[in-house]
């Protein structure tokens, strides 16, 4: 599933439209608001769903080599955060939907956590 399709299916707002790479294939996802946990456990190339909009989200997501971040529950990052993400080639999306619903819809599209017990 590529990011462009995910964004369209979930009606996400694209916060970094100038970036390329929307055709990047995303196969896994992660949901967490504890960024130390994201850093340790998020799958490379995956998409992160979080309501944390702090600047460190970009640092953590870049370090974890994530493909994109979806901010849930209507939370929006500052312009500084968006600019940093653009510089790091990290795609950012936003939605009013809550994390649970975002993850449910991603799962329905075949994007799983890849860590089922």
């Amino acid at each position: 599933m590529d990011l462009e399709t995910i964004a369209r299916e979930l009606d996400l707002t694209d916060l970094t439209p100038a970036l390329g790479g929307a055709d990047a294939e995303v196969t896994a996802g992660y949901a967490s608001d504890l960024l130390s946990d994201v850093l340790a456990n998020a799958p490379e190339g995956g998409v992160l769903v979080t309501l944390q909009v702090h600047l460190n989200v970009v640092a953590v997501a870049s370090h974890a080599e994530l493909a994109a971040v979806i901010f849930s529950s209507g939370r929006l990052p500052d312009a500084e955060v968006v600019a940093k993400a653009a510089a790091e080639d990290l795609r950012l999306y936003a939605t009013d939907a809550g994390t649970f619903d975002v993850v449910g819809r991603l799962y329905g599209l075949g994007v799983t956590g890849g860590r089922e017990a």
Binding site: L35, N56, A59
Partner: protein, 246 residues
């Protein structure tokens, strides 16, 4: 110059999670018994008992008025203020952003007692101090500095509520004056070693919620007097003032 033992993070019965035995005179007695020369009173999102602890100390113990702010990222930031009045004004700004407590609140979170210097309950805080404020980390640090305070990244070695646990990396841009290590990160531990990279002074504080923990770890301050101004100089490592492990 003198070397003081300071525990710069002690809660009172005002914190919902603080023991009800954490009254001003009991805290002073516990601090003196632990050989401390200075404590900082840091309740969650409030500072209503700091003045009473200072009064209870009656000059036997230096008492810094502080507050531990919970940011929107659920990171804890300790503010240390020049006076109880400054801490009170800063706390009024923080408390106002928290909802009022409801009937079930104290059952789940605990009592929030305001106490006199003699340890008499004189009221209760009506805002929900256990909750996170809407303040972003940088806003919390800025608020502390607007009231002349020092901002300390609380218990950064802990798995929850420290800035590193919540944010993954240390937020250099926030403008902290110091980082705090808990009793669980003794000198030589990996967490303590990692702190060296931040190039900020390190304080060791008990984060006491119960009397038995007051002073279980401490920071050594080499200063001219047990005052806020000297503490500020020590954290800035100016004019020969320093902080080190106690």
């Amino acid at each position: 110059m003198q070397t003081l033992r300071a525990d710069l993070h002690v809660h009172t019965a005002l914190s919902p999670c603080g023991g009800d035995e954490m009254s001003p005179p009991a805290i002073v007695d516990a601090a003196l018994a632990a050989g401390l020369d200075m404590i900082a009173v840091c309740d969650h999102n409030a500072a209503g008992n700091a003045g009473a602890v200072g009064e209870a100390a009656g000059g036997r113990l230096a008492v810094i008025a502080g507050m531990e702010i919970t940011t929107v990222e659920e990171a804890h930031v300790v503010g240390l203020f020049p006076t109880a009045a400054a801490a009170g004004n800063a706390a009024d700004e923080v408390r106002a952003q928290l909802p009022a407590i409801d009937d079930d609140y104290t059952r789940f979170f605990g009592e929030q007692f305001l106490m006199s210097a003699r340890g008499i309950v004189r009221g209760a805080e009506t805002h929900a101090l256990a909750l996170a404020t809407p303040l972003r980390l940088e806003e919390a640090v800025d608020l502390i500095k607007r009231y002349g305070g020092l901002a300390v990244a609380a218990h950064i070695d802990r798995p929850t509520f420290g800035v590193i646990a919540q944010l993954g990396f240390f937020p250099f841009e926030a403008g902290f004056d110091a980082v705090e290590l808990s009793r669980f990160a003794p000198p030589g531990s990996p967490a303590a070693a990692a702190c060296a990279d931040y190039h900020l002074p390190i304080v060791r504080s008990s984060d006491s919620h119960y009397l038995e923990d007051v002073g279980c770890v401490a920071t050594a301050l080499t200063v001219d007097a047990p005052t806020f101004a000297e503490l500020a100089l020590a954290l800035k490592r100016r004019e020969g003032r320093t902080v080190s492990d106690a």
